[in-house]
Homo-oligomer: 208 residues x 2
DNA sequence: ATTATCTATAGATCTATAGATAATGC
DNA sequence: ATTATCTATAGATCTATAGATAATGC
């Protein structure tokens, strides 16, 4: 029996929304993604999230402990795919490091620009500095370290002392994140071309 | 009679704070800058701002119409100095365009990283997209246009069609803004060296 | 019986205004 | 008299819990 179409256990929902086909928790995440990015995290109320997900405010607590949990899940979802790809690239010795770095940059920009919402900006929220989001920070630090390792493996990068390598890494990482934020202002541009141009720029910065 | 030391008209403040020497409105702006960047804009209450500025919540309304006005003023203060410098550079034909672009990048990074708070991140707030902040957007757009003009005036930039020029401008502007945001994570680095490295990177992106 | 919802609400805010008060200025 | 404050508060939230309810499952 499919979970989406069959009758479900429990009291029916009050507001008869068309069945999205998503699990309730995913409905909440989708709603949160839209509201957090368009209205802001703090300004978004639990009621707004729940209602957009098709349930009443109190019902949300059946699935998540509150807004923070939604934010944590969304943040991790922005970095995890890039990190998985970065790990693949680190393990692959067949391609030169410069080319692998280029691919990582392109993939990172595409993943973050392709989504319907600008989740990339959420990591700047002051709340995110909290211990509560240590998981996200760990994943992001690992991603940044992958950039560093790929950079270090290039001919140009191999010649750098640690301080210099850290600086280059920050510049490349800053470009990627900054470009994602700026991209929103001009979304009429095709993402794939933009991602490639950014990857080119990253390599120029890296000095490869 | 100095405004800072002499007795002042009006009922004395309740909480006896040391006289900061600032005008009350500036005390509010300073308090808001700190709180907006550390606790977040929406999460910061009017009470918190007023109290940190040394007055009671209600007294704030004597100087500003609310939080929005404070945010608008802070945002403009982050772009106005860079824009003033950009105008100077545009008018100066003695130096080559590439060098002027380099100086603008360096100044922009220095101005935003040198301040005690990371005001640069505030422009990403969803609230800022509102009509209320049209003034800030206008100033920021003018600054971005200065980048574009300097880029176009370089030998490499002169050869670009409009689409290409826009792309390069976005990449350079994205680098500058992204780097400012990333910088916070490693503030043990001297700002001036960092600003110069960023300006170098910007020129490499520009293809100059 | 189990489950996913709902309704209702206590307790804790937060903003913006109204009106009182304590200084200086003339 | 003018001014910069203060205290008090109405009205409008918002979060998280308690307890009721309406389905399915056995």
């Amino acid at each position: 029996m499919g979970t989406s179409s069959g009758r479900r256990v429990g009291r029916p929902r009050a507001a008869g929304r068309p069945d999205s086909g998503l699990q309730p928790r995913d409905e909440l995440l989708t709603a949160a993604a839209e509201l957090f990015t368009t209205s802001g995290y703090t300004a978004t109320t639990t009621r707004a999230v729940a209602e957009r997900a098709g349930m009443r405010q109190a019902s949300m607590y059946h699935y998540v402990s509150g807004k923070e949990e939604l934010l944590a899940a969304l943040l991790e979802s922005t970095v995890t795919p890039s990190l998985a790809y970065a790990r693949e690239l680190l393990a692959d010795d067949t391609a030169p490091a410069g080319e692998r770095l280029w691919r990582l940059c392109r993939a990172d920009v595409e993943l973050l620009c392709a989504g319907p919402y600008n989740l990339g900006g959420l990591y700047l929220l002051p709340e995110v500095r909290t211990e509560r989001f240590a998981g996200f920070h760990a994943v992001r630090a690992e991603l940044k370290d992958a950039y560093r390792q790929l950079l270090a493996a290039t001919p140009a990068g191999g010649a750098l002392v640690k301080t210099e390598l850290d600086l280059r890494t920050d510049l490349v990482f800053g470009l990627i994140e900054g470009v994602i934020l700026v991209h929103r202002s001009g979304p009429e541009r095709p993402v794939s071309a933009f991602a490639e141009a950014t990857a080119d720029a990253a390599l120029r910065i890296a000095g490869v």
